[in-house]
């Protein structure tokens, strides 16, 4: 018979890593028409990070995402980056990109200020314009300013910057210190059906509430959460590299290494928790890795809720869940017998 259960799990996760310094550098060039090019050493590995970086640069320059072209991942042409690892791209590379854009923007402000009759510090960007703070009608198109920077002032707008999160090394004996600049937090709740005759677990629904600071692109946050949950479902129920007694893998293929397909995916509901981190670019932290952290815990708690067995080793395969249910029943039977005696 199918038994329904629910399980909750929350988590925290740092942005960046501990072992060494964690820098990124970036270069932003503003073209004569007010569009821009970002040079970054990070790699697009499918998560959409280049789009996030384009949005950060665009925001700093007051232009649109589509106005920013990103050149990435070439050691000859792009600056140093620690890479697509440790959920650091939005936070660390994003901060570097924002700082580089700010430096390039500063050149535009210096060019526009005398034309608009104000000091550079009185200028701001908004919707492809450079305008006087408090007097938005006094403005110039960013392309006109950029072209003037090159053609009149002889100072093409380009900025480069690097960013390294401030951390404090850990004490060797007590481990006390500040290993990470910031953390994100999340909760996932799973609803499952467990067949108490076969041990088979069906994950029906997962609600995921994730903090990522400012969501630079909510759609890409949702994509990360959905992907992370699929990884979590596999970790919870199916995936396992098995070894024979000689230390050789027994299932190094997709026939015998079982992972979730689209048909195994539960209904996913993603919530982005309102949060702002003043140290991140426009308040952003990160979201990549944390999305897969609490899924297995939530599912295993839901199994416990449904059939009353605590599976303490992953994955909770049907065989393992079934064995745990059988053991529980045997124990209950013994208790009844003992009670009767």
């Amino acid at each position: 018979m199918k038994k329904r259960g629910r399980g909750i799990a929350c988590m925290w996760y740092p942005i960046g890593f501990t072992v060494a310094a964690n820098p990124s550098a970036a270069v932003v060039k503003i073209n004569e028409d007010g569009t821009a090019t970002l040079l970054t050493g990070t790699v697009e590995t499918g998560q959409g990070s280049l789009t996030i970086l384009a949005q950060i640069v665009a925001q700093e320059l007051g232009i649109a995402t589509d106005d920013v072209h990103v050149v990435s991942a070439d050691t000859d042409t792009t600056p140093m980056d620690t890479g697509a690892i440790a959920s650091r791209t939005t936070y660390v590379t994003g901060n570097a990109a924002r700082l580089a854009a700010e430096k390039a923007k500063q050149i535009l402000f210096e060019v526009a200020a005398p034309v608009l009759g104000v000091k550079p510090s009185q200028l701001e960007v908004a919707d492809h314009k450079i305008q006087v703070v408090g007097f938005p009608q006094r403005n110039m198109h960013i392309g006109d300013v950029s072209d003037r920077a090159r053609g009149v002032n002889g100072q093409p707008p380009i900025g480069s910057a690097s960013y390294n999160p401030a951390t404090v090394a850990l004490d060797a004996e007590t481990g006390q210190g500040k290993p990470f600049a910031t953390y994100v937090y999340a909760t996932q709740i799973a609803e499952v059906d467990v067949d108490d005759e076969t041990g088979e677990v069906d994950v029906l629904r997962i609600v995921a509430s994730h903090d990522c600071g400012t969501p630079i692109n909510p759609m890409l946050v949702e994509g990360q959460v959905e992907g992370g949950i699929s990884m979590g479902v596999g970790f919870a129920l199916e995936e396992e590299i098995m070894f024979d007694e000689h230390g050789r893998q027994r299932n190094p293929n997709l026939t015998n290494y079982i992972m979730p397909t689209s048909l195994d995916m539960p209904k996913i509901e993603v919530d982005i928790v309102d949060s702002y981190d003043p140290t991140g670019p426009f308040g952003a932290k990160g979201v990549g890795e944390p999305t897969c952290v609490s899924t297995a815990a939530a599912i295993l708690n839901a199994i416990h809720d449904a059939v009353g067995v605590r599976v303490t080793s992953l994955p909770a395969t049907a065989e393992k869940v079934h064995a745990a249910i059988k053991a529980k029943r045997a124990q209950e039977a013994r208790q009844i017998t003992a009670g009767a005696a």
Binding site: K3, R4, R6, I8, A9, C10, W12, G41, V43, T45, G48, L50, Q55, Q59, I63, A64, D66, D74, D76, M80, D81, T82, G83, A84, D127, E173, T174, Q176, Y185, Q188, I189, H210, T214, P215, I216, P218, M219, I241, F243, H246, R248, P252, N253, L254, Y257, M259, E269, D271, V273, S275, P278, G288, E289, S294, A296, N301, D305, T312, S313, P315
Partner: protein, 472 residues
């Protein structure tokens, strides 16, 4: 495409017979430049918080993204790597003569041909190709470059390696014992150790209403990216090499490649293509020095793409953890103290174990206010596939342990699991296990928001919730 045809054949057999015999047409070419109808979100200001489509969405959607396996340079050769197939052994000899004599085979290299045969992000304990000693069954021992992939694969069978087997260490708990001989002697098998100490755990346990103990284990899993590891190397006549690679971190990758090749960094160019999935699995060099050396030896571009079994056996995986938790609580459910011991199965090489060890240890307390904590973590060598960076760096493992125990404690104390978490959750300004003052902390908000959406308080998802039909 061909499979769908039979129904049509019955109707118009003669007409379509010729068409059926033709090879399936490649994906139709899209004329360039493409008239792009830019989705609105990409043109909006301010840009942040826009649901902007990705810049690579169109090429992905059209099947036009070029991965390394789609790249062919004139005269390019294909490389394949011979895998040890034994978990622990000394290499007595490698005989490549028969493979070299095969028609179509252009070059063969072994571990002895690697100029500097060690690398690794923290400990440099990993060879590009094993030369003296095999530490796990997925170790490469030789590599072939041939005119076709098939010939390269067949040539691997003609390479004869003589091994002197050494008893493998497979159990991390056995490896943890000091009497177990060190795999990478003279180094001990415990190659990483970390302690987080705060307050007085013994005192906290003595003051606790109840102390709960639990032991949890997790398994080894693979990243399983759709695109396997791949690289393509080509040298120019000035002695400068360009390597196209699936690496996720090219700056540090270039340092490792230049070091293993013994070539200055100024003569190495790494270009990372769009990568078809990383998840932490593409943070280290794999085939890059091999294709670079084979390309240098043959004077032709050389490409190597992992097979799916290689992806499992010869790339990094997730650390299996053995986790012992002991937690003292008040009658009301407040956590007073927690003691944790983690043992990480580090596999054959260090890789990103130090980072995983550190994160697992710091995060193992959970997102909770715990004044008295003692967390200790070890990572040990075994003769299994190396474990390294993988989405979460130890966090999914410890979360499984601390959240399982949280529910066990809530149940035993008769407290709702949500309430027990809210009672202990970190808050703005809370001190972390390393006494870092935390900012922008929203654990409680995420708990409440998820519970609201799920309908936790209405009983959704529970056995009675489904019975009374309150489910949405």
């Amino acid at each position: 495409m061909v499979e769908k045809k039979p129904a049509v054949i019955e109707k118009e057999a003669q007409k379509d017979a010729l068409e059926l015999l033709r090879a399936p047409a490649p994906a139709p070419l899209v004329p360039l430049p493409i008239e792009v109808l830019v989705p609105e979100a990409r043109q909006q200001t301010p840009a942040v918080r826009q649901r902007a489509t990705r810049s690579d969405a169109r090429t992905h959607g059209l099947g036009q993204t070029k991965y390394i396996d789609d790249m062919y340079l004139p005269g390019m050769l294909f490389a394949k790597i011979k895998r040890a197939g034994v978990a622990s052994a000394r290499i007595v000899s490698v005989d490549t003569k028969e493979a070299e004599a095969m028609p179509g085979v252009v070059a063969v290299i072994t571990g002895r041909d690697i100029p500097c045969n060690t690398f690794g992000p923290s400990l440099k304990d990993q060879p590009v190709l094993a030369d003296e000693r095999v530490f796990h069954a997925g170790d490469g021992v030789a590599a072939v470059a041939a005119v076709t992939e098939q010939i390269a694969t067949e040539a691997l069978e003609k390479i004869h390696v003589e091994y002197e087997p050494i008893e493998p260490v497979l159990d991390p708990l056995a490896s943890l014992k000091l009497e177990t001989p060190g795999l990478h002697a003279p180094s001990p098998n415990i190659y990483g150790h970390k302690v987080i100490k705060k307050g007085d755990v013994a005192k906290a346990f003595a003051e606790s209403y109840r102390v709960f103990e639990g032991s949890f284990r997790t398994q080894m899993v693979e990243h399983v990216p759709l695109e396997p590891h791949s690289s393509l190397a080509t040298w120019d006549p000035n002695g400068r090499v360009t390597i196209y690679s699936t690496l996720g971190r090219i700056t540090l990758g270039r340092a490792d490649i230049s070091r293993t090749l013994g070539v200055p960094m100024s003569r190495v160019r790494i270009i990372a293509t769009i990568v078809g999935g990383n998840f932490g699995g593409k943070n280290e060099i794999t085939t890059e020095p091999v294709v670079a050396l084979l390309s240098k030896k043959t004077g032709r571009p050389v490409k190597c793409t992992f097979t799916r079994p290689e992806e499992f056996m010869s790339s990094t995986t997730r650390h299996p953890l053995i986790m012992d938790y002991k937690t003292g609580v008040t009658k009301e459910g407040r956590i007073l103290g927690r003691q944790i011991r983690l043992v990480l199965d580090g596999g054959a090489y260090c890789s990103w174990s130090e980072t995983t060890l550190g994160k697992a240890c710091i995060l193992s307390a959970g997102p909770y206010k715990i004044d008295n904590l003692y967390a200790e973590a070890f990572v040990v060598y075994t003769n299994k596939t190396m474990t390294g960076a993988m989405r979460g760096f130890g966090a999914p493992q410890v979360c499984f342990a601390y959240e399982s125990q949280m529910d066990d404690m809530a149940k035993a104390l008769g407290i709702d699991p949500l309430e027990m978490r809210l009672m202990n959750a970190l808050e703005e300004g809370s001190l972390s296990p390393t006494s870092q003052k935390l900012h922008s902390v929203v654990v409680k908000e995420s708990l409440l928001q998820a519970a609201e959406r799920f309908g936790w308080k209405n009983g959704n998802g529970s056995a009675n919730g489904s019975a009374n039909g309150s489910r949405t």
